[in-house]
């Protein structure tokens, strides 16, 4: 299987660990074999310009057209052009993450409602 998700300048990645877990970021420079410099863009994703290790990242299928060490303005423009936020939310991966969040945030009443809904569904199937 050829690798399609590469570590490269402009690659969109998901932060999987740490204070920014669950947020998207863009790789704007590669430091060495373990670390990259990432930036949000801050206004869209909330990830600040920082050094982050590969162990805390999961690469996505998306890539934006930016130069090395791109500034916020250029990064924002590239994100808008590539329409990353919309494309990401449409992926199964993003939807699964969203569902997980919803489940974790359920209250007892929500769980009750889900139970009722499931019962209705099975009754309708029969």
């Amino acid at each position: 299987m050829p690798y399609s998700r590469l570590v490269e300048i402009g690659r969109v990645a998901l932060v999987t660990f740490g204070p920014d877990a669950g947020k998207l970021c863009t790789i704007i420079d590669v430091i060495d074999e373990n670390r990259v410099l990432v930036d949000g863009p801050v206004s869209i994703t909330g990830v600040q310009h920082q050094e982050i290790g590969f162990k805390r990242l999961a690469l996505t299928d998306f890539k934006v057209d930016v130069k090395r060490n791109a500034r916020q303005k250029a990064l924002l423009a590239a994100w808008e052009e590539a329409d990353v936020t919309a494309k990401w939310s449409a992926t199964a991966w993003a939807k699964k993450l969203e569902n997980k969040k919803k489940r974790a945030a359920m209250s007892d009443f929500d769980r009750f409602e889900v139970m009722i809904a499931k019962k209705k569904r099975t009754a309708a199937m029969k």
Binding site: V7, V30, I31, D32, E33
Partner: protein, 174 residues
């Protein structure tokens, strides 16, 4: 140990013989102000005829990195003591700040050469331009169109999922 860069100016105490002694400036790396001053006297007395006993430190302040937002190639010339002798070295690191590079020096020498910080002396540091770098492990990242996959990925998992035995082999293709 978090390493900081200090700039220290010191000279001999003024006397009747020498009312205006020469001022020496030294940039060095230490964990704090106190350690920096101590190191200053150690090095300066080896290089010049100044001692702490008849000298004074005019200023000691921390130097802040100008731009920590870009990756730079740092060349470090150092001298370290091995178990059987003392050697010179030149090493290169890709870091965002000089402090991070010197931190990397200490960690690297501890791991690779089993050298303790007390046996390491940083002789000179420089921000090296990409064309002047000498080490292949730095060259491989000096590519504006760099692209590489994360092959055989071992993903970090939550502590509760870490068991001795698993039903399936892990997925390493991401």
């Amino acid at each position: 140990m978090v390493v900081k860069t200090y700039q220290i100016l010191g000279r001999m105490k003024p006397s009747e013989k020498d009312p205006n002694p020469k001022v020496y400036r030294m940039k060095l790396f230490a964990a704090n102000d106190v350690a920096a001053r101590s190191k200053f006297w150690y090095f300066i007395s080896k290089l010049r005829r100044v001692k702490k006993a008849h000298g004074q430190i005019l200023s000691c302040h921390e130097l802040i990195e100008k731009n920590r937002r870009i990756v730079k190639n740092y060349g470090v010339w150092l001298r370290y003591e091995s178990r059987t002798g003392t050697h010179n070295m030149y090493k290169e690191y890709r870091e965002c700040s000089l402090n991070a590079a010197i931190q990397a020096v200490y960690n690297d020498l501890a791991g690779r050469n089993r050298a303790a910080p007390r046996g390491i002396q940083i002789i000179r540091t420089a921000e090296v331009k990409a064309a002047s770098t000498k080490r292949p492990n730095v060259w491989q990242f000096l590519n504006s169109k760099i692209a590489f996959p994360l092959a055989h990925r071992v993903m970090r998992s939550e502590k509760r999922f870490k068991t001795t035995f698993k039903a399936q082999k892990p997925n390493t293709y991401y």
